[in-house]
């Protein structure tokens, strides 16, 4: 049933996305609230790197599952 020669990639009329149908709740890139969130995120990632320590990679060992 499969073939490789006749299948063409169709040119598709783009469907409207959900975001276009309803106003996005996400703040714009220059939003101070977003900047604050990104700052919190960066601090969180820094804390992950500091707290975990590379020895955690040694500890994170599992038995093979399915």
């Amino acid at each position: 049933m499969s073939e490789s020669h006749r299948t063409q990639i169709p040119k598709r009329k783009r469907l409207r996305t959900p975001e276009e149908e309803t106003p996005s709740s996400s703040p714009s890139a220059s939003d101070p609230k977003r900047d604050q969130k990104l700052k919190e995120l960066d601090e969180f990632m820094e804390s992950v790197l500091e707290k975990a320590g590379e020895e955690f990679l040694e500890e994170f060992k599992q038995v093979e599952g399915e």
Partner: protein
């Protein structure tokens, strides 16, 4: 098949983390399997003391919690009939296991043990061991005969369904892959779930019944954190299955070497993969676009549900976003994401997060500490999990309300056999009966003794004479008057009060 029944199975990873640096070394002296069995036992103890209605391995929400190979705690969702329902139940499973971990930590604290448990939803540890996240779909026998038509779709859907993986310092390899599981798949079809895993697993636990619908068991997917990624993965797969079931003549691009293509796309998502014959090549997005277009044509003459319509729109906008996404595959860098896919797709979000850390100049592309962030992404803890932090900061798009997840932790889906299973478990939890959910298809109810205790398992004759077997062979069975009649008759014969259950059913 217009009403699709599907479910997912997630194997979780548990790690003991010492609460005291000085005790860290003592933990390592125990053999790994022993340690993992210890952790799983703690969760079993937590489940027992939680008061949650349970019968065997099955829960009151119709799902199944058990310990699978490798001592991994595993949650299988109940049978769902909509994508939204499935996402809610998979997320509910995450929460249930997380609650068990929290309760297990209380137990270890009471025992004075200097460790706490950490829970992860991913598919590979830091040593290269894998564990699964499987999908199940009810399909017609005709679709099973033509199931090869779905392979190119399954190989390439990772461009939106992958969870992303930071690669260890392997020479000549890329620093980041789109999926966690691609490297562990060795066949297109296989009856094994270890060693030689297939994209599709052919193992049949249930007896196949001639002419009836069958379970399609897919091993190739990653465990997703993003609600949108789960919805896209399951929703698009269900749509392609409908196309295979209901059309007579479809042509899809046959991949020359599907397993190799799986690994290539994981490393180089924009690189074309060879088609059968070797003369042409398509990118993963090209292949996905072909499937999408065939479905759009199919639905010109067929009815589609509101949910199918939504999935088609998300699929389309995601493929548009992927077309505009700019990557530097060799450097593992996300250069541009004009479609904001990092708000919806796990691997793009993970790459976006890693890029933020790398942009600070602290870490290079091959720094092993990036793997710490990779693992942290999958930790199911609001305090320490990176994805969970992104979610709480509103940096990812959500599909569900919190109430949807809370409801799914306790309520089975209303329109599949999970409803009957869940209601029996819930309503008979305190009745004078022993409920034994033997498997997904059979529930055995054994009347208790006059003094209100369960009949001892060794009293086989009494248990046989005082039991009722309820078979749930049809996954779509949710309402059956004959079951209520049999429950009423059993109630009278054995003098047990089942009115709470029969009123609900």
């Amino acid at each position: 098949m217009k009403t699709r029944v599907f479910g997912t199975e997630i194997e979780y990873a548990l790690v003991f983390s010492s609460t005291s640096k000085s005790d860290r070394s003592s933990l390592d002296t125990r053999p790994l399997l022993e340690r993992m069995e210890d952790m799983s036992s703690l969760l079993a103890e937590a489940l027992k003391s939680s008061g949650r209605p349970v019968a065997g391995q099955f829960l009151g929400n119709g799902g199944r919690y058990y310990v699978d190979r490798g001592a991994h705690p595993e949650y299988a969702t109940p049978e769902c009939s909509s994508v939204r329902q499935l996402v809610a139940h998979e997320k509910a499973g995450d929460r249930i296991v997380r609650e068990l971990v929290r309760d297990a930590d209380r137990i270890t604290a009471l025992q004075g043990r200097p460790e706490r448990l950490r829970l992860f939803k991913n598919n590979v540890d830091a040593w290269g061991n894998t564990y699964g996240s499987h999908e199940n779909y009810l399909i017609t026998p005709r679709a099973m005969e033509r199931i090869g038509l779905i392979i190119p779709f399954l190989v390439t859907r990772q461009v939106f369904a992958g969870a992303g993986k930071v690669v260890a310092n392997g020479a000549g390899d890329v620093p980041f892959q789109v999926t966690q599981r691609a490297d562990f798949i060795e066949r297109v079809y296989s009856d094994r779930t270890r060693e030689t895993r297939g994209i599709i697993n052919l193992r049949k636990r249930e007896l196949p019944r001639y002419g009836q619908n069958l379970r399609l068991h897919i091993l190739v997917g990653d465990a997703n954190l993003s609600e949108h990624a789960i919805a896209l993965k399951v929703g698009t797969t269900a749509l392609v299955l409908r196309l295979i079931e209901e059309t007579t003549d479809i042509c899809v691009p046959g991949l020359d070497a599907p397993v190799d293509a799986l690994k290539t796309v994981s490393r180089f998502p924009n690189r074309p993969v060879k088609l059968v014959g070797g003369k042409r090549s398509y990118t993963a997005v090209d292949v996905q676009t072909i499937y999408l277009e065939k479905l759009l044509n199919f639905f010109q003459n067929q009815e589609r549900s509101a949910e199918e319509d939504t999935i088609l729109r998300w699929w389309s906008s995601t493929l548009d976003g992927l077309t505009k996404l700019k990557l530097s595959e060799e450097d593992g860098l996300l250069l541009d994401d004009p479609g904001d896919l990092h708000r919806r797709l796990d691997w793009v979000l993970k790459l976006w997060l890693l890029n933020r850390v790398r942009a600070s100049g602290r870490l290079g592309a091959r720094d092993s500490r990036l793997r710490l962030l990779d693992i942290s992404y999958h930790e199911l803890d609001p305090e320490t999990g990176l994805f969970e932090r992104c979610e709480s900061l509103g940096l990812v798009d959500r599909l569900l309300e919190e109430a949807d997840i809370c409801r799914a932790m306790h309520e089975p889906p209303r329109d599949t056999r999970a409803w009957l299973r869940g209601m029996i478990i819930q309503c008979l939890a305190n009745a004078n009966v022993d409920v034994d959910v033997r498997n997904w298809e059979l529930i055995r109810i054994v009347a208790g003794t006059e003094d209100g205790t369960n009949l001892h398992p060794f009293k086989k004759l009494s248990r046989t004479l005082n039991r009722l077997d309820i078979k749930l062979e049809d996954p779509l069975l949710s309402d059956d008057a004959s079951i209520v009649e049999r429950l009423n008759a059993f109630s009278q014969t054995c003098s047990v009060d089942l009115s709470g259950l029969t009123e609900v059913l």
